[in-house]
């Protein structure tokens, strides 16, 4: 009996973990490019869920089409974000970027609430959400979709980063802009690309997650903090680390929520963040080869 419970919880944890992994990857990509954190990221994730809601639940579009639209919208948002917000404050101190993105995040979240209301909206699952029963463990198809789509996105990202020079270009740009330029790398293009891919991942994650939770509801800052926590847990400078960190974080959250209490889960997650920051700032899975 307790084993079934455990597997149920683990499965739920892996599902949440997938979302955290995607978010963590989004933070990682931006971090290795500008050595800074986009505090509006979580709001964009939430936005992905809302756009998905509008397309699927309201406009009745096919969910694959909607997902594609959302991912592309994320890319466009990333491009606009980089041009209008990141670029003007490129050479400012670290804090300026943090506060600016925080402010823009507020704008996005409040703007979203004007369009979609401030209540959390329930979203239709991608396919008929009848749970399969595997040895007593209920497997919801939506969770499988999340797993599959996350895998797809992660593999796609990994292939892109490993087989192109993009990843190296990003690190080079973060380390030394001038030197990067001298190597033929255009820091502006790299920066654009980083935000395009980061926000695309973010909106994508938001949409595939929304049928399980809700869309909207002023959760932007929570996504931001949890995505960051996942990245830090695994090592924000490593793409594999960030992904694994997000997964692990999801599992830890599910374990706590499932076996201890739902009420204090949020506070528990925050304590995890503080613990990691103070004890393990390098992360667990720092893969040396990526340095």
């Amino acid at each position: 009996m307790i084993l079934t419970n455990l597997f149920q919880v683990l499965f739920s944890g892996i599902t949440i973990g997938c979302i955290y992994a995607l978010m963590a990857l989004g933070f990682h990509i931006v971090y290795i490019t500008i050595k800074n954190v986009n505090f509006a990221f979580g709001m964009f994730v939430s936005l992905g869920g809302l756009i998905g809601y509008a397309l699927v639940t309201q406009l009745q579009l096919n969910f694959f089409v909607a997902l594609l639209i959302v991912a592309v919208a994320g890319g466009i948002a990333g491009y606009l974000f980089e041009r209008s917000i990141v670029r003007p404050i490129f050479d400012r101190p670290i804090l300026t970027f943090i506060i600016c993105t925080l402010a823009i995040g507020e704008v996005i979240e409040n703007g979203s609430s004007l369009l979609w209301g401030s209540e959390a909206l329930p979203c239709k699952a991608f396919t008929n959400n009848v749970p399969l029963d595997l040895f007593g463990v209920k497997i919801f198809p939506q969770n499988l979709w999340i797993l599959g789509l996350t895998l797809f996105a992660v593999i796609g990202a990994k292939i892109y980063f490993n087989f192109t020079l993009t990843g190296k270009a990003m690190r080079a740009t973060a380390n030394n802009r001038l030197a990067a330029r001298l190597c033929g790398i255009n820091p502006l293009r790299v920066s654009s690309f980083a935000f395009i891919s980061s926000l695309s991942l973010g909106l994508f994650a938001g949409m595939i997650f929304s049928p399980i939770t809700f869309a909207g509801g002023f959760v932007g800052i929570h996504y931001t903090v949890l995505g960051f926590t996942g990245a830090i847990l695994g090592g924000i400078t490593s793409s594999t680390g960030s992904i694994l960190g997000g997964l692990l974080l999801g599992i830890v959250e599910a374990l706590f929520r499932g076996f201890i209490t739902t009420r204090h889960t949020e506070a528990f997650m925050m304590m995890i963040l503080l613990l990691i920051l103070l004890l393990l700032p390098q992360g667990l899975f720092r893969v040396r080869s990526e340095e």
Binding site: L95, A103, V107, V225, A267
Partner: protein, 330 residues
């Protein structure tokens, strides 16, 4: 720089004093209420200005310190019947302890991680007051917070409370000004600009980070105590991260490099909604825009955009704008 801007400061003081007296003379409940809020937020924002503007440390969780002050004082006086003049200062100390804990994390963390850590503390606080129903009343909050009293004299009208808050705000301001214009101010600014170099002059950077976080939190605690005993009923919704953001707006838009920035910032954030509402109520005002001017969500969007623009265009905030306008005239 610190001793030479006499005339500009004088003008601002004149403005402040006239504002104060206009509130008193008006004696309009609504405006006194606004004035009290301005005063309270001014105190909190000043603390945040010292932390962020002077020492360069980020805190996206100041509402938590504000809340510690409010909840502590409220609980100590209502549930435990403690005298306000003991409960208040005690609550400020509690807020300071909270600041100290956050300060501990600031010693080793970079700005981005520190920002996240302050959010974490804020969320932990919010969850705490929300869930610990037996003590804090949970989401419903709790009331019956007594007014402050000196013997038989009760500070129970808006006018009296406004004077009360104003006196404390003035004291806070003078204390802060003295602090910043001397040794400590230079030390904090030096830390903000370059921690490594600061240690090469002998400054124990961790010690000062701890102290400034503690001090800044205590300011917020003072604000919280004043808030609790004015509203006399508090609930978790007044101490969320959105409030923390509001405090940041006050500091950033008002001008984070100068101690008077908090003054303009708190006025701005408190009065802007009122002002917009007033403007939109004119009959000549286009109806289509009326929604924007009255809906609070739009205000929040405006705040966000203002913070962004002020960081990009006006590093010195409203205060800086006034200064440069003034300088051009000379």
């Amino acid at each position: 720089m610190f001793g030479t801007i006499r005339l500009k400061e004088l003008l601002i003081y004149a403005f402040g004093v006239s504002l104060f007296f206009s509130f008193i003379i008006l004696a309009n409940i609504k405006w006194l209420d606004i004035g009290i809020h301005v005063g309270i937020y001014f105190i909190v924002a000043t603390g945040l200005t010292i932390l962020l503007g002077m020492a360069g440390q980020i805190s996206i969780g100041h509402a938590a310190f504000f809340g510690i002050g409010a909840y502590s004082s409220g609980l100590l006086t209502s549930t435990w019947d403690l005298n306000f003049w003991i409960a208040g200062p005690l609550s400020v100390i509690f807020a300071g302890i909270g600041g100290y804990l956050v300060g501990l994390t600031s010693i080793r963390l970079r700005h981005d991680s520190l920002a996240m850590a302050t959010i974490a503390f804020q969320v932990i606080f919010s969850v705490l007051v929300y869930e610990w129903v037996e003590v804090t009343g949970g989401p419903a909050g709790f009331g019956n917070i007594p007014v402050p009293s000196i013997g038989t004299f009760k500070i129970d009208t808006e006018t009296k409370y406004f004077l009360f808050v104003s006196i404390i705000a003035l004291g806070v301001f003078l204390f802060s000004r003295n602090l910043i214009s001397r040794r400590i101010g230079r030390v904090l600014i030096s830390i903000r600009e370059n921690e490594v170099v600061s240690s090469s002059i002998g400054i124990n950077v961790p010690k000062y980070k701890l102290k400034v976080f503690t001090l800044s939190a205590m300011y917020a605690g003072v604000g919280g105590v004043l808030f609790a005993h004015y509203a006399r009923f508090i609930s978790p919704t007044s101490f969320t991260i959105h409030f923390s953001f509001a405090f940041l707006v006050m500091v950033l838009v008002g001008g984070r490099r100068h101690i008077l920035g908090a003054f303009f910032g708190s006025i701005f954030v408190t009065i802007l909604p009122e002002f917009l509402r007033l403007v939109s109520s004119f009959s000549l005002f286009p109806v289509s825009l009326r929604e924007i001017f009255t809906n609070y969500t739009y205000h929040l969007i405006i705040y966000g955009l203002l913070v962004y623009f002020s960081l990009v265009l006006l590093p010195k905030g409203i205060y800086g704008l006034g200064v440069s306008v003034f300088q051009k005239r000379l």
